[in-house]
């Protein structure tokens, strides 16, 4: 029994030899990293066996050694070669263990560790150590904020509103992983899920608001509601995802009806202008009334104190101004018939004959 075990060990070493030396020569690390190392001992027994029994193979093997392992194999004897293989295997194994059990986790990452399939813990940022690969496997989860934009690559994204109008909507969703275990184990196609949920929630909310709210003032409220809905849906899936923010980037009329929408805003401007003009007129009118009446009131106060004098003064002042600028004819009546140069008078429309101004 013991002999058999020793043989088996030798077999293993021998069989690993060509691989080991070849691997060493190329790049032991990368060879180990690919995970093909551990299978080798079993993959090669047939050639290893024949090493022992047939000389041609022995020759072939030593050739291979020379070719693959460089000069090293040449100078070592048979017994030394075995030791050399042992060392090489040891080095490889050590490299393998180190490479697959030490994990650099960046600040914005977590590592979800499963040992033989079962979840055992989550690695925090830093250099972390686990069992080597086939036993433990580490899934790195990016915890940084990710951004999804809708529509994904430009173009139109037509959405129906409550009043069956159509708007062209573009928005973005920022999300991040809140719980790396749920994120890894609970849902399939995580990003696709987030996108589908975002689209569904956004359209459901837009379907409850009328057009004017969607393209106008209601956008903040819409975004907040979408965020809330998305979060509750994803929580129902146990997705381990947190929605950071939903931002509506643009909610505009589709270009097919853009002209008509512009006509509305033009009409709004025009209506506002009309109201402004009316207000200006009103201010002017009222101010004028106040000014005129104030003038009258002040005069009236004085008139009350001395009615006769004030009245006559006003009368004379006015007549003075009126008559000073006019041509005057004084006619001694009765008996004299004045000759009025009618054609001359006719020419001017503003002409007025003034007779007997009542004081």
């Amino acid at each position: 029994m013991t002999g058999r075990r020793v043989d088996a060990d030798i077999l293993r070493n021998d069989s690993k030899g060509p691989w080991g030396s070849g691997g060493n020569n190329n790049d032991g690390g990368s060879n180990g990293g690919q995970g093909s190392g551990p299978r080798n001992p079993w993959a090669f027994p047939p050639s290893g066996k024949r090493t022992r029994s047939s000389n041609p193979i022995e020759d072939w093997l030593s050739k291979a050694r020379r070719g693959g392992g460089g000069g090293g194999g040449n100078f070592l004897g048979g017994g030394d070669a075995k030791r050399w293989y042992l060392v090489a295997a040891g080095v490889l194994l050590a490299a393998w263990i180190i490479l697959t059990s030490v994990h650099p986790i960046a600040a914005k990452e977590r590592g979800v560790v499963t040992v033989l399939g079962r979840y055992t813990g989550t690695l925090s940022p830093g250099w972390q150590v686990t069992m080597p690969y086939p036993l433990a496997s580490v899934t790195i989860v990016d915890m940084s904020v990710r951004n999804e934009t809708f529509p994904e690559n430009g173009g139109d994204n037509l959405v129906l509103t409550q009043d069956q109008n159509i708007i062209n909507l573009s928005y973005s969703v920022n999300w991040q992983v809140a719980n790396p275990e749920d994120y890894s184990f609970q849902i399939r196609d995580q990003q696709g899920t987030v996108r589908a949920v975002a689209e569904s929630a956004m359209r459901a909310v837009i379907a409850t608001v009328p057009l004017n709210a969607a393209i106008g003032s209601g956008q903040d409220r819409i975004a907040a509601r979408v965020q809330e809905n998305m979060q509750s849906i994803l929580d129902r899936y146990h997705a381990g995802v947190r929605i950071q923010i939903v931002a509506i980037k643009g909610a505009v009329a589709p270009q097919q009806v853009d002209e008509a929408f512009k006509a509305v805003s033009a009409a709004e401007q025009k209506a506002q202008a009309q109201v402004n003009n009316a207000n200006a007129y009103a201010q002017q009118k009222i101010a004028a009334a106040q000014g005129e009446t104030a003038q009258f009131d002040k005069l009236y106060e004085q008139y009350k104190l001395a009615p006769e004098v004030t009245k006559r003064r006003l009368y004379y002042e006015t007549m003075e101004q009126v008559l000073a600028k006019s041509n005057k004819t004084i006619v001694e009546a009765p008996g004299v018939t004045p000759y009025l140069p009618l054609p001359q008078l006719k020419g001017s429309s503003e002409t007025a004959a003034k007779q007997g101004v009542a004081p």
Binding site: R4, Y119, T208, H238, A263, V264, T293, F296, S326, S348
Partner: protein, 285 residues
């Protein structure tokens, strides 16, 4: 067995290979994301790491497991939430409007043995759920009017679809987590064009209304201003109508005969009688 037979390398290799095959058929690893259904000669007899509500990872049955080699085989079933997608389903609402609906259902296999018995494997579950979802969607949406589809009642509609889908999905050991409409759009072509036309005319109507309202508001403001001014005048002048008449007449004479500087005035000739009030003092009584 004699020693030479034991030591024969050929036998050793065969034995090692045999052992390996045995191990390979005995030991298996169940990950956190999968459930294993154990088949006894093709007959499902048990599950490993089956989904249970509210379990926490690390306490599940995932890990290294052993089964009876060769006799038992395994069907792997995803433990995670999966989805069925429906794209571009034409649905006719009761008011004869055509809507193009994209929907999806999220589901999870909660009873993998039932699933394996009825569907065989996961892909076939998805294949069978899709037509059921399509039928449920069409049935439920076809009973509604267009505006109901868009209204907050959509939640109720979705719940009905989910319930309908769940009834059938239960036969497959599947739990429907959620059914949602991703998009509901008017189909391109005539329906979309007529919707645009409706929007356009609605906008133009709004524009006209806004213009008319603006005009009305302006007129009302002006009328109110006129009224206020009249009130101010009346309150002041009504204190002494006779004096106002005189005062205003004086102002008026000045305006008509004197005018403002720079203003074009007609030439005025005035014929006065010595008896005129203004010339009263001529007579020097």
């Amino acid at each position: 067995m004699n020693a030479s037979l034991i030591r024969s390398p050929m036998v050793l290799v065969v034995a090692a290979l045999g052992l390996l095959l045995l191990l390979y058929n005995t030991i298996y690893v169940v990950s956190e994301t999968s459930q294993a259904v154990i088949l006894n000669l093709g007959n499902p007899v048990g599950t490993v790491n089956a989904w249970r509500p509210g379990e926490s990872f690390g306490r599940t049955n995932a890990g290294l497991k052993v089964k009876i080699p060769f006799l038992q085989s395994i069907v792997w079933v995803d433990k995670r939430v999966r989805d069925v997608d429906l794209e571009g389903q034409q649905v006719l609402s009761t008011d004869q409007l055509r809507v193009e609906v994209d929907a999806f259902a999220r589901y999870r296999v909660v009873d993998p043995i039932t699933m394996v018995r009825t569907a065989g494997n996961e892909e076939r579950v998805a294949d069978q759920l899709q037509p059921i979802l399509r039928a449920a969607l069409r049935n439920e949406l076809g009973k509604r009017k267009m505006d109901e589809l868009l209204s907050p009642e959509r939640g109720v509609v979705m719940d009905n679809i989910r319930a309908g889908l769940q009834r059938i999905a239960s036969q497959y050991g599947v739990q429907i987590v959620d059914v949602r409409i991703k998009q509901a759009e008017l189909p391109s072509g005539t329906p979309l064009e007529s919707a645009f036309e409706r929007m356009r005319t609605a906008r133009l109507q709004e524009a006209t209304t806004i213009t008319a309202r603006g005009q009305r508001a302006a007129q009302i403001i002006q009328a109110q201003a006129d009224a206020t001014a009249a009130q101010i005048y009346a309150a002041s002048f009504n204190k002494d109508p006779a004096f106002y008449d005189f005062y205003r007449a004086m102002q008026s004479y000045r305006a008509t005969f004197v005018g403002q500087p720079g203003q074009a005035m007609g030439e005025t000739s005035i014929v006065l009688s010595p008896q005129d009030g203004y010339l009263r003092q001529f007579e020097a009584k």
